[in-house]
């Protein structure tokens, strides 16, 4: 009975808040992130005349393509209310795996793609098993898996990167090399547009359609929003949680392939910094157009925001270590609107 009385009271109070203030808050919640991007573009353009050029934007798209792929995977785990810390080391492992199959074992394109992808899926299944069956909280489980996977890629390569014509243990030169068809994935262009950018946009659209227009997409969101209510409505929640971790591993391994192709080597631990950028992009995505939940287009916008920021700051000669300060600040700004809104609307 108290709650009824309290509710009436808060409703009364809400009515007293001026609609004008509500409108402003609403506007910023919806368009805040896009406005920040616009403001960044305008200011970087004013500060540096080489910023607003086609080649620079092609550069930005190429550089964010890998982060976006990782972030799409992170988006899936965030949707089901989980978290995957192992994506960074999965990227590293995938990079090594494709490098090793090409350079060490002289394999064809298909093998160099399938092996990392299979590894990514297996890591996803392991994560799902540990969090769902053994019931270790996701943050801890994937932290442990992150260490293990990172250790595996370092042990396998003995800590050395894989590159064309590298010396082997027995004194000979490595038999294979990064073949042109593989390198096209990260370095190629179609009609002047970088192939990784095209591929990224294709993936973003695909994930967006999957999340919005399929049954599985809806049920992923429902599982994350209220697992018990979904279960009591007959949703196989464990299956959808598993799916999310598998997709997370899959996208991380695809990102690893693009990374290997882009730099043309199998660099050890190359994926480590991608974890944080991927998570940041997915979290910024919450606030895009006031979605208030993880979503594919938002994640893309988040990656664009981070990409533009880093590109512009680098052009202005801001040292990379100082860029992190700005990245964090932007993250707080983007999330503030999302969660401020959530408190007002969802928790009544």
């Amino acid at each position: 009975m108290k709650s009824a009385a309290e509710l009436a009271h808060t409703q009364k109070q809400n009515a007293l808040v001026t609609p004008f203030k509500n409108k402003i808050v609403h506007f910023f919640v919806k368009y805040g992130t896009l406005l920040v991007i616009l403001a960044l573009i305008v200011s970087f353009t004013l500060l540096n005349d080489r910023f607003l050029t086609y080649s620079n934007f092609a550069d930005i798209l190429r550089s964010i393509s890998i982060v976006t792929l990782v972030a799409l995977g992170v988006t899936f785990t965030l949707i089901v209310g989980g978290f995957d810390l192992s994506v960074g080391s999965t990227v590293s492992l995938a990079t090594i795996a494709s490098g090793a199959s090409l350079v060490w074992y002289r394999q064809e394109l298909l093998v160099a793609l399938l092996i990392p992808i299979l590894l990514g899926i297996v890591i996803g299944l392991i994560n799902a098993f540990i969090t769902i069956k053994i019931r270790i909280p996701d943050l801890l489980a994937t932290l442990a898996v992150m260490y293990i996977v990172n250790g595996i890629q370092l042990t396998y390569t003995k800590g050395f990167s894989i590159y064309n014509n590298m010396p082997m243990d027995d004194g000979t030169t490595a038999p294979g090399k990064f073949i042109p068809s593989f390198l096209f994935i990260g370095q190629g262009e179609i009609a002047g547009v970088p192939f990784p950018a095209i591929f990224m946009i294709f993936c973003v659209i695909l994930v967006h359609l999957f999340l919005t227009y399929t049954r599985a997409g809806r049920l992923l969101y429902m599982t994350g929003s209220n697992r018990e209510a979904a279960r009591l409505s007959g949703v196989a929640v464990q299956r959808y949680r598993t799916l999310a971790y598998v997709l997370s591993g899959l996208f991380a391994s695809i990102a690893g392939i693009v990374l290997a192709s882009r730099i043309g080597t199998g660099q050890v631990s190359a994926g480590a910094p991608l974890l944080m950028d991927g998570v940041a992009a997915a979290l910024i995505g919450y606030s895009v157009l006031g979605a208030g939940k993880p979503n594919a287009l938002g994640t893309f916008v988040g990656a664009v925001l981070i990409g533009i920021l880093l590109n512009g700051l680098t052009m202005l000669n801001v040292p990379y270590y100082a860029q992190d300060i700005i990245k964090g600040t932007i993250l707080i700004g983007a999330l503030a609107f999302t969660f401020y809104q959530n408190k007002r609307e969802i928790k009544m």
Binding site: M1, A4, R215, S225, E228, A229, R231, S233
Partner: protein, 502 residues
């Protein structure tokens, strides 16, 4: 003799009056039982005494000295303690028994140094004098419910309370644990502590209380010595003169068994459930809070753990390993905690309504939005849900409309058995009538309905047969003229078991 006097206390929430001029005196060293049906105002009164709620008018005094109780700490200073029903809300699971007992004293001086050795010694002494067999170093999270209760009693006694409120303390306890608690209560009585004892269980009240007060509709109905009155008379007084009898419903119930549960194990209560439900029959399952109704409903639905026992339905035998097994077999549950588990608050009305039948609203995994919208707007019209559109977020709707949606999502296809758990909780009278008539309508279509509720009036209005639960078991089966308030209350409070074959 010391006494705590509650004088003319009134309290209303909005336009609802909950307490009207309630006066009560509790002597030192007595156990005073506070009785009344759900909604009689017991909890509100106790929350006022403990400073949780502010009273609108009236006074509380100790030996004639008025006490100013506005906050919980005022009540503590005045020597009034409470052992709440949900013990976990008052404990710190990561701290030890001793630390939990002295937790309140940290409030007084946060910078005072304290010695854990001394604290442990003090705890040992305290527990010894109270006769509580507890290890001071044990973590609260490792304690059983009964032990947690004992911690709270010890905490109260550590601060020398003069008056202790026990809110349905025995609901989760076994017989041995109850005896231990009663032993402790008698010890406290001898120390001169006055105890206010809230319970629904008649045998206990006769055993432990000296006097009792019955609240009815927010007013004191009767205060008297327990010995002077029989349990039956107490029940009659709680309910009022009208021994609400069954309102006749003219409806044919077929004799064909639709659903039969055979030894379905309820993990939370550790008991097995057997019951039989016919086509078109509404069986009311009565029982007080803590009798295990919700747990039973969840177990029948396969939602607590993979089911042990058998479900017979449509001449087939099932063992539901998960709710989705039950749903596939045509059984559905409308759970008690609507906002937590009945609906998905973050989603639209249409998303909620189509959730269990999403497969039917999609093709090759692709959602058919148009089909969904059609289905949703159809349901909205049929159920009379008030909403501006099918896309409206469901958290904007009122409780009654949310509940209609929680029911409506199951009305898409051949579901045959409906389990309703407290379906009218927290909705207004108009919505309540609508929900009840919807349920009757389902029965008329030949569905079988199990209606779990602690609202006796509703059970009498809607049921063809009433099962009464006590302590996790079905202790009485009432049909025909035997369905009346006093028979239900008698069985629900642990009175004589009544078995009537129809």
């Amino acid at each position: 003799m010391n006494q705590l006097t509650i004088h003319n206390i009134s309290k209303s929430f909005g336009s609802t009056t909950v307490l009207k001029n309630v006066s009560l005196t509790i002597h030192a060293g007595e156990v005073h039982a506070l009785l009344g049906t759900n909604g009689a105002g017991k909890s509100t009164l106790m929350k006022i005494v403990c400073g949780d709620y502010e009273r609108d008018s009236g006074s509380i005094s100790y030996n004639g000295q008025p006490l100013s109780i506005r906050t919980p700490s005022d009540a503590k200073k005045a020597g009034i303690g409470i052992v709440v029903q949900e013990v976990d809300t008052a404990l710190f699971p990561a701290l030890s028994v001793a630390e939990n007992i002295w937790a309140d004293s940290l409030n007084q001086s946060p910078f005072k140094l304290y010695s854990s050795k001394k604290e442990r010694k003090k705890t040992k002494q305290l527990l010894a004098t109270l006769g509580i067999p507890l290890n001071p170093d044990k973590l609260a999270s490792d304690c059983t419910l009964s032990e947690k209760q004992l911690i709270l009693i010890a905490r109260a006694m550590a601060h020398d309370v003069q008056y202790l409120i026990l809110d349905e303390p025995t609901a989760p306890l076994s017989i041995e644990e109850t005896q231990l608690l009663f032993h402790l209560i008698n010890k406290l009585k001898k120390k001169g502590v006055g105890i206010i004892y809230i319970s629904h269980r008649m045998p206990e009240i006769e055993e432990i209380s000296d006097r009792f007060t019955i609240l009815r509709d927010g007013k004191v109905h009767l205060t008297t010595e327990t010995k002077a009155v029989s349990a039956d008379e107490i029940i009659t007084n709680m309910l009022g003169s009208a021994i609400g009898n069954k309102k006749e419903r003219k409806r044919q119930v077929s004799n064909h068994t639709l659903f039969r549960a055979e030894n379905v194990h309820v993990p939370e209560t550790g008991k097995n459930i057997n019951l039989e439900l016919n086509h078109g029959e509404i069986i009311g399952v009565a029982g007080l809070v803590g009798a295990g109704k919700s747990e039973t409903a969840l177990a029948l639905f396969g939602a607590s753990k993979p089911q042990k026992g058998k479900i017979h339905l449509h001449n087939r035998t099932y063992r539901f390993r998960s709710p989705s097994d039950a749903i596939d077999a045509g059984v559905c549950l409308i759970p008690e905690e609507r906002r937590k588990t009945g609906i998905l608050l973050d989603f639209s009305l249409s998303d909620n309504l189509t959730l269990p039948s999403l497969r039917r609203h999609s093709k090759n995994g692709l959602l058919n939005r148009k089909k969904e919208e059609n289905y949703a707007s159809n349901q909205i019209n049929q159920l009379g849900i008030k909403a501006s559109s099918t896309r409206q977020p469901i958290h904007h709707l009122s409780g009654g409309n949310q509940q209609k949606a929680a029911i409506g999502k199951w009305l898409d296809a051949d579901r045959n058995v409906f389990l309703f758990d407290e379906p009218t909780k927290g909705i207004d009278i108009k919505a309540k009538t609508e929900v009840l008539s919807l349920i009757k309508h389902l029965a008329d279509e030949g569905k079988g309905i199990l209606y779990f509720s602690s609202e006796i009036d509703e059970l009498l209005e809607i049921s063809d047969k009433i099962l009464v639960m006590y302590d996790g078991e079905i202790t009485a089966t009432l049909t025909g003229d035997n369905m009346n308030q006093s028979a239900i209350m008698q069985a629900a409070t642990g009175g004589t078991t009544i078995e009537i074959s129809s």
